[in-house]
């Protein structure tokens, strides 16, 4: 089955810097890759979707890249703010029937 790896160590950065989170997968490339944000005690909230034929997707301060050769997605938050502190999950799906989630990376943005 698909194995998804996200850095289990928390990422600590200073406010205003760019945060970069990594998502690696092992099996054949999915058709779609998503990123979600999860706050403590809450359900995940959808942020972005990128398709296998797209190299990059942007939304406001967020940017996602998808490299099917490296089997990797990078998630960037530019001009980070303390309010961006949360756990970020990547999810893969081939047909929207089943979504495979990583364990998430916790981001701490310090003022």
């Amino acid at each position: 089955s698909q194995k998804i790896e996200q850095n289990s160590e928390a990422l600590n950065i200073q406010e205003g810097k760019t945060a970069t989170l990594t998502c690696n997968y092992t099996n054949y490339s999915p058709a779609y890759l998503q990123w979600y944000r999860q706050d403590p005690g809450r359900g995940p909230v959808f942020l972005l979707l990128i398709r296998e034929n797209e190299k990059e997707k942007r939304k406001e301060r967020l940017k996602v890249t998808f490299d099917t050769t490296l089997k990797q997605s990078l998630f960037h938050i530019t001009a980070s703010q303390p309010a961006d502190s949360a756990t970020y999950l990547c999810a893969l799906t081939y047909n929207f029937n089943k979504f495979y989630f990583g364990s998430g990376t916790k981001l701490n943005v310090k003022p």
Binding site: S8, Y36, G43, F46, L49, N97, K98, Y100, F101, G104
Partner: protein, 116 residues
């Protein structure tokens, strides 16, 4: 309501008891998912319902777990003879398969199950 509603938000039970967790999806959403999240872990797929099709039960960890969805809306996840390893947050999500679909899953706040 406007979002996915789950109940109870917290459930403490004794080992061996049965529990039922309820999910009320967003109105009109045809797809419904159950996931389990253990402390510090990712979301583990349990089951997927899509319209009137047979559910994908491939993620259910044992025959103690079952789920149903009545009338294409409310879903109930039942865990029989609970074990301590069943302790986790059970998340429900719904989705609308429509034009311009982004695959966005709308999650509820989860039901935290603790088995003593």
């Amino acid at each position: 309501g406007a979002g996915v509603s789950q109940s109870p938000s917290n459930k403490v039970t004794e080992k061996g008891k049965d529990v039922e967790l309820r999910c009320d999806p967003i109105s009109g959403h045809t797809a419904l998912y159950w996931y389990r999240q253990s402390l510090g872990q990712g979301l583990e797929f349990l089951i997927y319902f899509q319209g009137n099709s047979a559910p994908d039960k491939s993620g259910l960890p044992s025959d103690r777990f079952s789920a149903e969805r009545t009338g294409g809306s409310v879903s109930t996840l039942t865990i029989q003879r609970t074990q301590q390893e069943d302790s986790a947050v059970y998340l429900c999500a719904s989705s609308a398969l429509a034009g311009g679909y982004t695959g966005e899953l709308f999650f509820g706040e989860g039901s935290r199950l603790t088995v003593l």
